[in-house]
Amino acid sequence: MADVNRGDRPLSPHLRVYRAEINMVTSILTRITGVALLGGAVLFVWWLMAAAVSEEYFATVDWLLTSILGDIVMTLSVWALWYHALAGIRHLVWDMGYGFDPDTSDKSAWGAVIGSVALTFLTIITIWGT
C-alpha cells in the first residue's frame, strides 16, 4: 500500500486549470457580491439606528458613510446590488429552461457586467441630482 507515486497522480480539475471565461467570472462575482452586500447592509442599518438614536450620533455615522471611504463602499454596494440583481435575472431565466446555449449565455453574461456598471452610474447621477 506504499504510495510510491504520490506526487504524480492525476488531479481533479479545479479553478486554476481553466482559462478564465466570462461565464465563470460572472458566476463567481454573483456569489462574491451576494456575500459582500452584508457589509453595505450593516452600514445602512447602523445609519438607520443612528437616525433613531439622536441627532449627534446620526451626524457622526452620516459623516462616516458620506466620507471618501464611505462613498467608495456605498458605490461598490450599489454596483453589487445591481450586479447581483441582473445575475439573478439570468438565473430566473435559466430556471425556466431558456438561455443555456453558449452564445446566449455569453451575451447575457456581458449584459449583466455592462448593465450593472451602467445602472450604477445612473443611480449615482440620480442620487447626486436630489
Binding site: 456569489r31 451576494g34 456575500v35 452586500l37 452584508l38 447592509a41 450593516v42 445602512f44 442599518v45 445609519w47 438607520l48 439606528m49 437616525a51 433613531a52 441627532e55 446620526f58 451626524a59 452620516d62 458613510l65 458620506t66 456605498m74 450599489v78 446590488l81 445591481w82 440583481a85 439573478g88 435575472i89 438565473h91 430566473l92 430556471d95 443611480t123 440620480t126 442620487i127 436630489t130
Partner: protein, 123 residues
Amino acid sequence: MAMMTARKRVEGLGSARSGTDHHWKTTISSVALLVIVPMFLFSVAPLLGNPYTDVQAALGRPFPALSTALMLIVGFYHFRLGIQMVIEDYVQGTARKVSIVVMACISYGLMALGLISLAQIAL
C-alpha cells in the same frame, strides 16, 4: 438493484425535499427584490448625507418607509438563505452547523434592529 426504479433509490434521502424548498424560497424572494431594490435605491439611498430633520421627515412618509421595511425584511431573508448555501459549499461538520446558526442570528438580528429603528423614526 437492477429491479429498482430510480425514484425508489432516492426516495426518503431528504435533500431533494428541503433542497427544492430552499431554492424555491430563494427564487420567490429574488423576484420580490427585483421590485424592492429599485424602490429602495431611488427613494431611500439618496437620503444618505441629508440633514437629520430631512431624514426623519422622509422616513416618516409612506413610500420611503415601505421601501425600507421591505428591503430589510426580504433582503435579509434572501441573504440568510443565500449565505447558508455558500456555507454548505465550503464548510463541513460542526463548523458548518455553527456558521449557519450564527449567520441566521446576524441576518434576523440586523433585520429586527433596522425595523425597530425605522418604527422609532416613522411613528
